[in-house]
């Protein structure tokens, strides 16, 4: 695989003039987050502060720093360690707040950024690929790219980090067209799946952290969430849509579930230990909310799991599954996900395989593209807890997942609903081995 990738990289280097030309253009947040190239970000931070930040990684203390990217330097930003179960002091994930010390300061229109150290992901690409999948399905999801991160006055290489767009007002405005509603970040405390917890608003307050209007009263902030949960619990077939729709767009919920189940996300809305890793945004002047994915670095768990794993462990998903109408709608959403992400007609290029060149799915192409972009940087990552062999092995696993997951999901669906549309039927003779190639026989190209 390394030989193949080397050829890919040579071709990428040939395209360097195009990159130089791009640099002359005005830099935007899209330039940073569109993933078109491996970025280089330099965090200027005092050596003592970095030492204290890593030693006290559990504290979440902010430290002043400057962030430099492509010659742009934004001063007096605040950095702190972020994350929960993945929080560590060896290769810490960072939150960068541009307006921590300078009120109103932005960088490329962004108020903050997340630099994810991929502590739990040996491949370093799972989160980025997952978010790209959500976006491809028309869901609001953060943009992500990869960067070589340099730290301190000596510009020491700190490894490959994922640059993640923060879910904040700027994100809401960009993706949903408004930012005056109410945004909450869900915090996992125990297995929970929308069960009704009664009238105790403090229970919700502990789990749904307000991100855009933290100074509101408890009643104003959390009564709408309580009512949404009550509606979910009170809804029964055939009136589920009628009762729940004022609070959640069920079609979008089903697409959300379908993407996560397609990607075998074990730490998402249908996680093995209850719901996790999402934001909830309630639109302004309405009771309707939307789910926004976050931290998908435990996706790609297993290609073989049924795409309705843990549906019964969540009140909302369980009711969708138990309703014949909604189950059919969910399966349709799942088929649409497979068609869009996981079939050779889903927009990927071609891949070279032992049996010859054949079309790649969008997902497969995305995996190969990201891998080729970060490979050298990842193999020289001084702080990753994973060996180069583990990195290669995990990427291989995810690539195989991407190649085969579509067929496997369709097979599962086929057992439930044999009469699938022609366009999503499994490929015959799909192989689990082969080599990736771009559409022109060279580098993997960025999927459209």
């Amino acid at each position: 695989m390394r030989t193949r990738i080397l050829a890919v990289l040579i071709c990428l280097w040939c395209a360097a003039p195009a990159n130089a030309q791009e640099q002359s253009q005005a830099l935007t947040a899209d330039s940073l987050l569109d993933g078109s190239q491996l970025q280089e970000i330099w965090i200027h931070v005092n050596a003592t502060d970095w030492q204290q930040l890593t030693a006290g990684y559990l504290e979440g203390t902010y430290y002043p720093a400057d962030l430099e990217w492509r010659g742009l330097r934004v001063s007096n930003v605040g950095i702190r360690v972020r994350g929960r179960f993945s929080r560590n002091g060896h290769k810490p994930s960072l939150r960068v707040d541009f307006n921590r010390y300078v009120s109103g300061q932005e960088f490329l229109g962004l108020k903050s950024l997340v630099l994810n150290g991929s502590w739990q992901d040996p491949s370093m690409i799972r989160d980025r690929v997952s978010m790209a999948a959500f976006r491809r399905m028309g869901m609001a999801a953060p943009r992500e790219s990869h960067t070589r991160l340099y730290i301190g006055a000596r510009r020491e290489y700190a490894g490959v980090y994922t640059v993640v767009e923060a879910v904040d007002k700027a994100f809401l405005q960009r993706t949903l067209g408004e930012d005056s509603g109410h945004l909450y970040e869900y915090h996992w405390h125990e297995p929970y799946g929308f069960e009704d917890r009664g009238s105790d608003l403090d229970w919700y307050a502990e789990r749904f952290e307000p991100k855009t209007d933290s100074d509101g009263s408890t009643a104003n902030l959390f009564t709408p969430i309580k009512r949404m949960v009550e509606a979910i619990n009170d809804a029964h077939d055939p009136r589920i849509e009628e009762v729940v729709e004022p609070y959640l767009d069920l079609q979008k919920v089903m697409t959300y579930l379908a993407v996560q189940n397609f990607l075998s996300q074990k730490d998402g809305l249908l996680g093995d230990f209850g719901m996790n890793n999402f934001y909830l945004y309630r639109f302004d002047a309405t009771s309707r909310s939307q789910l926004i994915p976050w931290d998908q670095d435990l996706a790609f768990e297993s290609p073989d799991v049924p795409p309705w794993q843990n549906m019964g462990a969540n009140v909302l998903a369980g009711k969708i599954w138990d309703s014949p109408t909604l189950r059919a709608a969910y399966l349709s959403a799942l088929v649409e996900v497979v068609r869009t992400l996981g079939t050779p007609t889903s927009g990927g290029g071609t891949c070279a395989r032992p049996e010859g060149e054949s079309p790649c799915s969008w997902l497969e192409q995305e995996v190969l593209y990201d891998y080729s972009q970060i490979r050298d940087a990842a193999l020289s990552d001084p702080l990753t807890p994973y060996s180069p062999e583990e990195f290669e092995r995990w990427v291989e696993f995810i690539w195989q997942f991407a190649r085969n997951r579509g067929d496997i999901v369709l097979e599962h669906i086929g057992r439930l609903a044999p009469a699938l549309p022609e366009r999503v039927r499994p490929r015959s003779g799909a192989s689990l081995s082969g080599s990736p190639r771009g559409p022109e026989g060279s580098a993997p190209q960025r999927p459209r």
């Binding site: 005092n46 003592t48 502060d49 430290y63 400057d66 001063s75 007096n76 010390y101 301190g152 006055a153």
Partner: protein, 453 residues
């Protein structure tokens, strides 16, 4: 008298550091009204003692074992063992009623018993003086002055223990002798306060020149709590010299004029340990920022007590190095803070102002002594007065922060033991050259009741 007490105040009773009270805004006692009432009731006890004592013209001896142990009550309960030991018991309380504008403290006007101390001082053998004082309301640092002073000669005495670093006249003035309820901002936040050390001191030229030279274990208690516990805190040396050019010349109006200068030199450990700067109400003017290296202070003072009036002024300057503190590990410009004040008092009842005030006609036989006082002061953290400035801990371009304070007050000395004070305080806080939008100009009123024996 006051000159002597101020100068040697490290081995006399000492004061609470105002910041400790402000740092614990919620520590005010709900029962303080009752305590204040109790203090007022206590007025009668010493007053009665005074009356009896003055009537007899001798000290009030309570015990009869005159040859060995004697109990007396002159200005304070005292026990004396021949000429070997003298131990005077002291009790001090101060209760304040505050009504001030604070941007961070939303409390209603409160009563606050912020000083409740007991202590013992005295002498033993021929050469030694001592003092032990404990603040009952401070569990973290309850011990105030704890030291022994050895008097070898008038020009050389040695003092060891915990006492105030000899810097700033206002800081060295005992809390019961302050002309205002609160110390100046400069003394509260630029002077180092107490620490453990050794000091040589004495008087030269028949007392016209007094000196203090000391070395302390760390940089004083009047710094951020985190700095006090930082093991990298270094030693501090300090020196102070005060001259009274016309001392002892009777009839000369300038005989009480004293001028002095002082310094401290030490090391501040690396960290967010910049000197504090707060308003009278305790609101921070500037957040902590990183420093590292030398910390030096310089001060000059003047004090004059012509008749019933008194004038006092000081200027102080503190400079902290910021070595290797920039984002890129380079040196930042030194952080400089300075402060000054000028105050004046006048005893309307005509008592001469020589150190502590002793009313000619104390209660209950008279009205006591009444004094008016005024003070202007300013505390400044030097910085930029024009943008762009940034208030990050490692910023080179910190904004200038300052607080200019005018105080007008009335002091009523009921007798030698009880003092009632009222201060009206006007503040103007500025940041970056502009008056702060929140709490920039404020009025505060403080009513204080002191009791001390």
């Amino acid at each position: 008298m006051k000159f002597l007490r101020v100068f040697v105040s490290p081995w006399l009773r000492d004061s609470e550091i105002r910041s400790k009270r402000i740092d614990r805004p919620h520590a005010w006692c709900r029962h303080s009204v009752a305590l204040a009432t109790a203090c007022l009731l206590l007025v009668g006890l010493p007053a009665a003692g005074q009356s009896q004592s003055s009537g007899e013209g001798t000290k009030n001896s309570i015990s009869a074992s005159e040859d060995t142990v004697r109990w007396t009550f002159d200005n304070a309960p005292s026990v004396r063992v021949r000429k070997v030991l003298r131990a005077d018991l002291h009790v001090k309380t101060q209760t304040d009623w505050r009504d001030w504008a604070s941007t961070t403290d939303a409390e209603e006007p409160v009563f606050d018993l912020h000083r409740a101390r007991v202590g013992v001082d005295g002498t033993f053998l021929k050469f030694f003086e001592y003092e032990v004082e404990r603040e009952l309301r401070d569990s973290s640092q309850p011990w105030r002055d704890v030291y022994v002073n050895a008097r070898f000669t008038r020009w050389l005495q040695l003092q060891a223990g915990k006492f105030k670093v000899p810097f700033s006249l206002d800081e060295l003035t005992g809390s019961m002798d302050l002309d205002f309820i609160y110390r100046t901002l400069a003394a509260s936040y630029l002077a180092p306060g107490r620490d453990v050390g050794v000091m040589a001191h004495g008087g030269l030229l028949k007392g016209a020149v007094k000196y203090q030279a000391a070395i302390f274990r760390r940089g004083g208690e009047n710094v951020r709590a985190s700095e006090q516990t930082d093991p990298q805190s270094g030693r501090t040396t300090a020196g102070r010299i005060v001259v009274r050019p016309w001392d002892g010349r009777k009839g000369n109006l300038l005989r009480t004029l004293a001028v002095g200068t002082s310094f401290t030199a030490g090391r501040v450990p690396e960290g967010p340990y910049s000197l504090r700067s707060k308003s009278v109400a305790g609101d921070s003017l500037l957040k902590a920022f990183n420093v590292n290296g030398a910390r030096n202070r310089y001060g000059a003072e003047v004090h004059w007590e012509p008749g019933p009036g008194a004038i006092q002024g000081e200027i102080m300057r503190a400079r902290d190095q910021r070595r290797g503190q920039s984002i890129d590990d380079k040196d930042l410009p030194d952080a400089v803070a300075h402060g000054w004040y000028l105050s004046g008092t006048w005893l309307l009842t005509g008592e001469p102002r020589s150190g502590a005030v002793h009313p000619k006609k104390p209660l209950p036989h008279g009205f006591g002594a009444v004094e008016v006082a005024t003070r202007i002061e300013k505390l400044t953290n030097a910085g930029l007065t024009q943008p762009p400035f940034t208030a990050t801990p490692r910023a080179a371009n910190l904004p200038q922060a300052s607080d200019r304070v005018w105080t007008v007050g009335v002091n009523w000395y009921l007798n030698d033991f009880v003092k009632v004070q009222f201060d009206l305080i006007r503040e103007q806080r500025e940041l970056g050259g502009a008056v702060m939008s929140a709490g920039g100009r404020t009025w505060s009123r403080v009513f204080g009741l002191q009791f001390g024996i």
